[in-house]
């Protein structure tokens, strides 16, 4: 530290007289890191190599399937000849199945909007972030709320005769009630289900309903959106 510097340190309260700024460097100013991050690997080559292999496997699989499975091509578009049933792409058939039961405003606009808004707000609710088991606090009170909600859902779905929504709702609702801890204190039954948070139940219900609706819309709907068995109908 014997080097000659072109500045000098000093102290003064008059900012006009001493315009220098002073930086204090103290010990232990680093941000506190929560926990141990564990072993780390360099992205190059560890990540890059894995991604390259994944890409190659994907392309090989896609080429093999594309060689064997032809993309469909029907007759030239004809606005005067309506196919029965006219079906949307498979990922919208769940919506089309809903349109069969509910008015277009509900099935086509309100429900999809609610789903998108619901997905967006997931990470902004503490109940989803903490992820505490549904039955961890006040189980008796929550059981009443769950039963009331399920009953309301079942009534609405029954009024609209939306059977393909009702059946998966029954299955998930049944599992939800089954996961309620038994009063004898026997918590071994359904330990996995019993420790699931509310977000898990809602998302699982959504996925099972969406999957059911999409499969029914794709394989089990024929002329006039009537129920057909995929192995029996050739007219559709």
């Amino acid at each position: 530290m014997s080097e000659k510097t072109d500045y000098e340190a000093g102290l003064g309260s008059n900012a006009l007289k001493n315009p220098q700024r002073i930086v204090f460097i103290t010990k232990k100013t680093s941000a506190k890191v929560k926990g141990d991050v564990g072993k780390q690997l360099m992205s190059y080559p560890h990540v890059i190599l894995r991604e390259a292999i994944a890409f190659q496997l994907l392309v090989i699989a896609m080429v093999l399937v594309a060689l064997l499975w032809d993309a469909p091509l029907e007759q030239l578009a004809n606005p005067l000849l309506t196919p029965n049933p006219a079906k949307a792409p498979w990922y919208f058939l769940g919506l089309q199945e809903l349109l069969h039961y509910f008015p277009p405003l509900v099935a086509g606009i309100i429900i999809p909007t609610l789903v998108v808004v619901g997905l967006i707000v997931i990470p902004y609710f503490n109940v989803n972030i903490q992820g505490k088991p549904l039955w961890a606090t006040n189980p008796a009170g929550r059981l009443r709320v769950v039963i009331a909600t399920l009953a309301a859902l079942v009534i609405v779905l029954s009024v609209f005769r939306a059977w393909t929504v009702l059946v998966p709702t029954f299955v998930i609702g049944g599992l939800l009630l089954f996961s309620y801890p038994a009063p004898s204190g026997d918590r071994n039954s359904g330990q996995f289900l019993g420790s699931r948070p509310i977000s898990w139940w809602v998302m699982t219900w959504f996925i099972v309903v969406a999957l059911t609706l999409t499969l029914v819309g794709t394989f089990f709907r024929g002329p006039g959106w009537s129920w057909v068995w995929p192995w029996s109908s050739h007219g559709a």
Binding site: L58, M62, A86, W200
Partner: protein, 250 residues
């Protein structure tokens, strides 16, 4: 490390001035040069330089996000090639489909690959979202990246849906007719939004052109921007989430 003649040649190549001028570094033998390989490369610099070993396990991601992105790449390449043989006009669009089948070399394969990748991408993106949800990947500080992901899901669906009309066959025409009829149910603006989307009251020539522009220009550009933000935010938010269950299992 470099034992085979191939590796020796590769190492010698990496030491040349030409290689260094392209990649801004020599061989990646030290952690410093391995870091440079990531942040000295415009395409890789949005990735983290280091990752946690636990987030690299297959169970952590099943590479679903990667597969979604790779499918997007496959779709961009096959899509650009398909554009060489396609006219967004009626009924020429349908004739182009016939030409792809009977005239263009490997035209059937090209269209098969594009369609298959499109279906697979919708599946991969949905699966990716559900997997991230069950892993708790939306938790802070990843909230906003989850929202970006929802936007990417919608973009994927719109991309697939706009592409559905382009072959201009019965399947395409009626699928789009059914789908766009739903928009009319929207209160107040329904009819106008449908008119704007189709360029008319019916699915016709204008609708085909609009869907073509959306499918080939507007939506892919938006997707590229949001994909870039999505990847970059993984790095900025401190890497992938590793749930507590996995931490304990070690």
């Amino acid at each position: 490390m470099s034992t085979t003649p191939f590796n020796q040649t590769l190492d010698r190549l990496r030491d040349t001035r030409f290689w260094k001028s392209i990649f801004r570094r020599g061989p990646a033998r030290t952690n410093r040069t391995r870091s440079l390989a990531i942040f000295g490369n415009i395409f890789l610099h949005i990735l983290p330089v280091k990752v946690r070993e636990k987030s690299l396990r297959a169970r952590a991601t099943y590479y679903l996000g990667s597969f979604s992105f790779f499918l997007f790449v496959v779709l961009s390449i096959t899509g650009a090639l398909l554009m060489l043989y396609y006219h967004p006009a009626t009924p020429q669009a349908y004739r182009d489909m016939k030409d792809l089948r009977f005239v263009v070399s490997n035209g059937v394969f090209l269209r098969n690959l594009h369609r298959l990748a499109a279906q697979a991408m919708v599946l991969a993106v949905f699966w990716h979202m559900f997997h991230v949800f069950y892993r708790g990947g939306y938790r802070p500080p990843h909230e906003f990246n989850w929202v970006v992901g929802v936007v990417l899901l919608l973009l994927t669906l719109f991309l697939s849906y706009t592409g559905y009309l382009l072959p201009w066959d019965q399947l395409a025409f009626w699928a789009i007719t059914v789908g766009t009829n739903i928009i009319s149910a929207m209160p107040v603006l329904g009819k106008q939004v449908r008119f704007q989307l189709l360029g008319g009251n019916l699915v016709g020539e204008n609708a085909l052109l609009r869907f073509y522009v959306l499918h080939c220009v507007v939506l892919p550009l938006l997707a590229v921007v949001f994909i870039a933000v999505h990847f970059w935010r993984i790095q900025k938010d401190g890497g992938l989430t590793v749930p507590e269950d996995d931490e304990r299992k070690n």
